[in-house]
């Protein structure tokens, strides 16, 4: 067993923050937090050069534990705050951390427009298919038929495909993995942070406390095993029939292209304007 000092993760946790964290025992969010820290450590970023911006919900509580510039904003608006911060500090690595309800329901508009602008923000969406903090109401990613606190007779709304929405909206890096595949998740988050443009990582997780209980999915270990069995890599998915693929969580890098990044385009715009027209302010 490594000691505390040898654990990479401990070097990035806040010495002044009182633990334990708010998450239930067995929650998958902590695994994503670990993956994020390992990715940042692997890139070798200075703590001062990283900003974590989150929304509201279980996932939104993640930044408070980590020793970076952290801002816990309002429900769904993490990307809008992050947009302003990234424009003010273009050299800073701005990372948003959202849940599925946070990013895709109340924050859906900000999500598609941040992707469309291709602003250099790495967005991590922890998808546990439920509103956990408020007690297990159905979210935009809850599967059809699943039970939730507000879907006692089973959900009838089709789920939102997060990665496909991001790709269609203009994101330049899109990847999906699960909290069971922690090593893969480390790698995807690292690639997302390195990307010069809007990048998205969907981290498929589970909620043993609400969703798991209401749908009789067993213990945390059972739900973790389910993630392993239900997910396939992109190459394996290609061999499946469309009907079979529909039932699976497809893991992998779905999309990776180069497009001009927003804040760089704006810096160029400023240079262009200032060269053509030196500040001719009234009375200046």
């Amino acid at each position: 067993m490594p000691t505390q000092a040898e654990h990479t993760e401990y070097m990035y946790l806040r010495p002044t923050k009182k633990f334990p964290n708010v998450w239930c025992a067995g929650c998958g969010i902590g695994i994503v937090m670990g993956a994020l820290i390992r990715a940042i450590d692997r890139i070798g970023l200075e703590k001062d050069d990283v900003a974590l911006v989150s929304g509201i919900g279980c996932t939104g509580r993640m930044p408070v534990y980590m020793d970076f510039n952290t801002i816990h904003t309002t429900h769904g608006r993490a990307l809008a705050f992050a947009t302003g911060l990234k424009i003010a500090k273009p050299k800073m690595k701005v990372i948003t951390i959202m849940g599925d309800g946070d990013a895709m329901a109340i924050g859906g508009n900000h999500f598609i427009h941040a992707a469309r602008r291709n602003i250099g923000i790495a967005a991590i969406v922890v998808n546990n298919a439920i509103y956990g903090m408020t007690g297990g109401q159905y979210s935009p990613t809850t599967p059809v038929g699943a039970k939730a606190a507000t879907a006692p007779y089973g959900n009838i709304e089709p789920p939102m495909p997060i990665c496909e929405v991001a790709k269609a909206a203009g994101a330049t890096y899109v990847a999906r993995s699960t909290v069971y595949h922690a090593v893969e998740l480390d790698r995807f988050i690292e690639q997302a942070i390195r990307k010069n443009g809007f990048s998205l990582v969907e981290a498929v997780s589970y909620c043993p406390t609400t969703y798991g209980r209401m749908n009789k999915l067993g213990t945390t270990v059972d739900m973790m095993r389910q993630l392993k069995e239900d997910s396939v890599s992109m190459t394996a998915a290609e061999k499946l029939s469309p009907e079979e693929r529909e039932k699976k969580i497809v893991r992998g890098v779905m999309h990776d292209v180069e497009k001009p990044e927003y804040t760089q385009l704006y810096e160029e715009l400023i240079q262009r304007v200032q060269q053509a027209q030196p500040a001719n302010l009234v009375n200046i």
């Binding site: 806040r14 002044t16 923050k17 009182k18 703590k47 001062d48 050069d49 900003a51 911006v53 930044p63 408070v64 020793d67 970076f68 510039n69 952290t70 801002i71 816990h72 904003t73 309002t74 608006r77 809008a80 705050f81 992050a82 947009t83 302003g84 911060l85 990234k86 424009i87 003010a88 500090k89 050299k91 800073m92 508009n109 900000h110 427009h113 704006y266 715009l269 400023i270 304007v273 200032q274 027209q277 030196p278 500040a279 001719n280 302010l281 009234v282 009375n283 200046i284």
Partner: protein, 368 residues
């Protein structure tokens, strides 16, 4: 130039380097002008997907160290309430312009109104302090924009600049000052080592120094109640001092914040108390009344929140009647009534998109 243009120049003069907004009549000229002018001074403009995102982006940019502005009108201002509360809770400087139009709802986009007075004060949920400035003329639109930025930085608070459609779109000649000569207030920076920094700690002025992100002070910002380090708290002994301090930081500086114009004498038994475009009608009415040798005074509130309680209370000791003309069905009149007593206050209201006329005010002055 227009009031909206004067606001834009005021922002540049005050050192504004970021604007995020969403098009809406009758405030759009501010966005259009700053999209043109900000890049010239190295500033940045972005058109966001809605007004919620606009104010969020402004707060994000302010955390990154840029003086930030957004501008909107009633429907967009309703959407901004969420983040006015967030800025108040997190004590992040930001300036919000609301050029009022006739409401409720989509209402009448090109008609004048002063219907947002109470919304600027209580639109967002929870107890919070707020500063709201209200210009009467185009040149005041410039001056008060600069003031709005300065108060915002000085007191770490959101400041609302409340125009109405008349002042926003009206054209007047103004003399712009040399921008270098305009007084600019910067947020108080911290000088302690990072490990000592308390983003919400006590300070003698009740305004804790603010470190911008990326400058070596890594700390946490949250819209939850927080302790002096910025971490969420449910402890009463941390919530209580916070709510007391943020109110105190405004209340103890009322002398600095309360901007008011008085045209009064000891003999004025009737006094018109007004603000915004209604002050223009009132000015004319008072002039006509004085030509008829009626003793009448006038008080124009440039700061409408916090309400000028001490000043109006002093007026109420002299005046027998206080006339409050407004382009709404009586909003600031409620405050005047609270301070002066209901039986002294005469309301002159119009809420159909047209200005309160000088004639309406004159009739109220003469009606004894």
């Amino acid at each position: 130039m227009q009031g909206n243009e004067a606001v834009s120049w005021g922002a540049i003069a005050a050192g504004c380097k970021f604007f995020a907004g969403y098009p809406i009549t009758p405030s759009t000229e501010i966005a259009e002008m700053l999209s043109r002018e900000l890049p010239k001074v190295g500033g940045k403009f972005i058109q966001m997907e809605d007004e919620i995102a606009s104010l969020a982006a402004c707060i994000g940019a302010s955390v990154g160290g840029l003086k930030s502005l957004t501008a909107t009108s009633g429907p967009g201002f309703s959407l901004m309430q969420e983040h006015i509360g967030y800025a108040a809770m997190t004590e992040i400087p930001v300036v919000i312009v609301d050029v009022q139009r006739l409401g409720p709802s989509t209402g009448q986009p090109t008609s004048a109104s002063q219907g947002d007075v109470m919304q600027t004060r209580w639109g967002t949920h929870g107890d919070h302090p707020i500063i709201v400035l209200c210009p009467v003329s185009v040149s005041q639109s410039f001056d008060l924009t600069v003031k709005a930025f300065n108060y915002s930085e000085k007191y770490r608070t959101p400041v609302i600049l409340l125009l109405d459609e008349v002042v926003g779109h009206m054209r007047e000649k103004i003399d712009l000052p040399e921008f270098e000569s305009v007084e600019r207030v910067e947020r108080i920076a911290t000088d302690v080592p990072p490990e000592w920094y308390k983003p919400y700690g006590d300070s003698l002025s009740d305004v804790p120094p603010m470190a911008n992100f990326g400058e070596g002070y890594r700390y946490h910002i949250t819209g939850l109640f927080h302790d002096v380090l910025g971490y969420p708290t449910t402890r009463l002994d941390e919530i209580d001092p916070w709510i007391q301090r943020v109110h105190r930081k405004i209340e103890r500086n009322l002398n600095d914040i309360t901007l008011i114009e008085e045209d009064l004498s000891e003999n004025d038994k009737t006094v018109v108390v007004t603000y915004g475009a209604s002050a223009r009608s009132a000015r004319h009415a008072v002039k006509l009344a004085r030509q008829r040798r009626t003793k009448v005074g006038m008080v124009t509130l440039l700061t409408i929140w916090p309400f000028a309680e001490a000043e109006i209370s002093r007026v109420a000791r002299i005046a027998k009647r206080i006339i409050v003309p407004e382009m709404n069905l009586g909003q600031l009149a409620l405050e005047v009534e609270r301070v002066a007593g209901r039986n002294k206050v005469v309301r002159v209201n119009r809420a159909n998109g047209e200005m309160v006329t000088p004639q309406m005010i004159l009739e109220a002055i003469e009606d004894r």
